[in-house]
Amino acid sequence: MTVMAHTQARSRHVTPVRLGRIVGKVAIYALLIFWAFVSLFPIYWTFSTSFKKAANVMKGHLIPWIDYVPDWLGWRSLGLSPDTLFNTSTVRDEFLNRFENSVIASLSASTLAVVIGACAAYGLSRFEYKFGPMKNKDISFFFLSQLILPPVVLAMPFLVLYKELAFLDTRIGLILLYTLMVLPIVIWIMRDQFDTIPIELEQAAMVDGCSVWGAFLRIVLPIALPGMVAAFILSVILCWNEYFFAALLTSTHAKTLPVMVASQTGSQGISWWSMAALSAAAILPLIVIGITLERYIVKGLTAGSVK
């Protein structure tokens, strides 16, 4: 009897606290759902627009099979609809060529940047450098400060340089330029990542029988994987989206997707459906890369190593 009374008293006492917690949770989830909607809507809109006709686009129809009947119009213009897939299509060839250029330029440049950037960042994180009056911190800032320069300043120099080197309209030219472009960010991210790894881990590895490189490759890099993946994803996105230099330095062979997307606004107005199909195709690889690599970005990988 006393136990029951006690329990009742306790539950009466606890209820407002629990209620507060529930309300708090509901508020947080409501906010998160709202933000997820805001973030995902443009993607949904792009994908759905690629299946609309002109009238649906103009009237702002949003929900397929209720608002409008999906149609392959956009994809047909790219030669990628079921009925055109096996016919010859110059637009599709053009699209696939640019898609390939974009994939190769982005992935190669990002890989190169992560490899070079990781080495540079490791050096900045672990060794002391002096370059004239500049020390590690100044050198790091020097790298990052390269981002302050607007790309347009480099337009003329690069045009001249690439002309001399015969890099104009080549993939290798784009790859090198993109590597240079994303390197500062990669170095910055990786240096932060290496700074969080206790130096004792490498020292332990060296006592255990590793050389400096051995400790870097066998101990530091696996632990720094989350940072590397994050840097890689960011690099791929930046390279994938790059428009200015792609438009400037390429003409036929090495043109990338953003240039093609942007050129859809012709003199007859914008063909929303084909632009949407093109954009959707351009977004897709990023989504795939993001989803595949996201699981490597695990926080707290160093947990438990030191205390």
Binding site: E200, Q203, A204, M206, V207, I223, A303, G304, S305
Partner: protein, 350 residues
């Protein structure tokens, strides 16, 4: 197993010298503790022996071979770090077997040796776990396991117990000592905790500001400290020290209180000295009266903090004392255990 010799080892960062010529011989199989307050250079010295810190001058020999220019991996040493430094992406078995894998030993042998070490340390149930899934004490054991699987010439411990709670520290202290008795590997153990050094080591090296103050067995340091620093550092509670002057064959404190002295060193009349005695070398009912400030009975003994000649002293007595704070307690230092130090140099006189 091997001996370790340091010959006039120095370390400087730029113009700033932090280790001022340390020499010592550590015999094969010996357990030596480097002890001193933080910043005294003991960890730096250990890291120089390990090869993680370049040696500015002098020589380090391991097994009669100069290792100054050898990489850590070529010195055949194993080190346990203060923060354990376990590889977070490897499980316990791979953490312990990493060094053996690097040496290219066959998989079966690596597994066998890891298993034997795990048995010694009671880690067998945890071999598949990752460091983050272990408690502090278990991590500490893994760090030790990583050292012992290699069967190195020398073990180096850098304050391995300082991150554990008091109870676990005492337990691990016993385990490390037991391990040493079993493996008989030459061990250099850095700690700032003099109790750890006293209880574990065959010999203790007391370092202070990059200089060796004294080297000796724990009881040698306790009974015959070479100077004021060692006297004050070794022993807990610390040695009582009273400032004063030698007058004839006696000692007079600064406020004029005479304290008993067996015999003053020859020719020391009028010399400024420090009169030191350990808390447990006081006995009740002596010629000196003190005023009690605090009484702390612990059951087995009674600790008394009191004022003697205007200075605070601590006494530890076997007897139970019924006196209260503010009252007077008559005590007398055990004459055979009184230490005299020169007030200027801090060196021992008797």
């Amino acid at each position: 197993m091997a001996s370790v010799d340091l010959i006039d080892v120095r370390k400087a960062y730029g113009d700033h010298e932090v280790i001022h010529g340390v020499s010592m011989h550590i015999a094969d199989g010996e357990f030596v503790a480097l002890v001193g307050p933080s910043g005294c250079g003991k960890s730096t010295l250990l890291r120089m022996i390990a090869g993680l810190e370049p040696i500015t001058a002098g020589e380090v020999h391991i097994d009669s071979r100069i290792v100054n220019d050898l990489e850590p991996k070529d010195r055949d040493i194993a080190m346990v770090f203060q923060n354990y430094a376990l590889y977070p992406h490897k499980n316990v078995a791979n953490n312990m077997g990493f060094a053996l894998q690097l040496r290219g030993l066959p998989k079966a042998e690596v597994e066998g040796r890891v298993r034997r070490a795990a048995e010694i340390l009671g880690l067998v149930p945890y071999l598949a776990r990752y460091p983050r899934q272990l408690s502090g004490g278990q991590r500490q054991r893994v760090a030790m396991g990583r050292a012992i699987v290699r069967d190195p010439k020398v073990f180096l411990f850098d304050e391995p117990l300082s991150n554990l709670d008091a109870k676990l520290r005492v337990q691990m202290r016993g385990e490390i000592k037991e391990l040493h008795q079993r493996l008989k590997t030459t061990t250099i153990y850095v700690t700032h905790d003099q109790v750890e050094a006293m209880t574990m080591a065959d010999r203790i090296v007391v370092l202070h500001d990059g200089v060796v103050e004294q080297i000796g067995s724990p009881l040698e340091l306790y009974d015959n400290p070479a100077n004021l620093f060692v006297a004050g550092f070794i022993g807990s509670p610390a040695m009582n020290m009273v400032h004063g002057t030698i007058r004839g064959d006696g000692f007079v404190a600064e406020d004029g209180t005479p304290l008993p002295l067996g015999r003053a060193p020859a020719g020391s009349d009028g010399r400024q000295v420090i009169y030191g005695f350990r808390p447990e070398h006081l006995s009740l009912g002596g010629p000196v009266s003190t005023q009690i400030t605090v009484i702390e009975p612990t059951g087995s003994e009674t600790q008394v903090i009191a004022k003697l000649a205007g200075q605070k002293i601590v006494g530890v007595f076997r007897e139970r004392i019924s006196a209260r704070p503010g009252e007077t307690l008559s005590v007398g230092p055990n004459l055979a255990s009184v230490h005299l130090f020169d007030a200027q140099s801090g060196h021992r006189l008797t």
